[in-house]
Symmetry: C2
DNA sequence: GCATTAGGTCTACTTTGTAGATCTAATAGC
DNA sequence: GCTATTAGATCTACAAAGTAGACCTAATGC
């Protein structure tokens, strides 16, 4: 099964779609989760997810801005979607009878 | 932050309320998650959660049935609820823009 | 009193999580 | 064209969480 951080990386990459690359994922993760995400943690996890076939990455071209180096583009694979979905459902199912999730459910518009 | 398995244990214990003890948690987890949960994995995790103050455990009395040994009763602490909630929200927030969660959202009655 | 059963303890190893120092190649400005 | 500055990525090392399963223990049934 996926780890929690792995899930965050996977789902953030999926959310960003075509704009997903290392640094952008990191920024987005920090915004959404409200906590810092170290560079090392991120790329180590990307490497592992790629090795497992849940993510594919390739070097993109440089962008025309100061310091605009080549980006390591990232995309979730079908296998990645499957795993992420399984993780999400596992958490959701386990949360069915639990107050913090029920609250959230009731509070939903 | 919590790990995924830790979350499952915590939320299952919370769901079972007063009936939460080692073996029952294990059974419930297997049922809900549709995969086996080894004894070792469970108790190791319970120990760690207790050490972190997210769970408290104590030995209950023996039950009047064949082999009915003393049970290790388990209860989630307020700190445990806080952590579990934080985990749940982190996963939920990260999943907002992601197809597998949106599907689930739309499918909800 | 011995087989059987519910339930728990212990040990060891693999995977994930996490930080941060360092390296690289691009533009800006002179 | 040289140098400072910047976006972005790689590498190393260690801590924490995940996982299995052999083994121990104290009940009841007969």
């Amino acid at each position: 099964m996926l780890g929690e951080f792995e899930y965050l990386v996977l789902s953030t990459a999926a959310s960003l779609g075509d704009d997903a690359y290392g640094a952008a994922i990191r920024e987005e993760m920090e915004e959404v989760s409200d906590r810092t995400c170290s560079i090392g943690a991120l790329y180590t996890t990307i490497d592992r997810l790629e090795k497992k076939g849940l993510l594919k990455t390739w070097m993109g071209g440089a962008t025309a801005q100061r310091g605009g180096r080549a980006r390591r583009m990232v995309r979730i694979t079908p296998a990645g979607v499957r795993e992420a979905k399984a993780f999400y459902e596992a958490v959701t199912r386990a949360s069915r009878r639990v107050p913090w999730a029920i609250e959230a459910e009731e509070g939903r518009p």
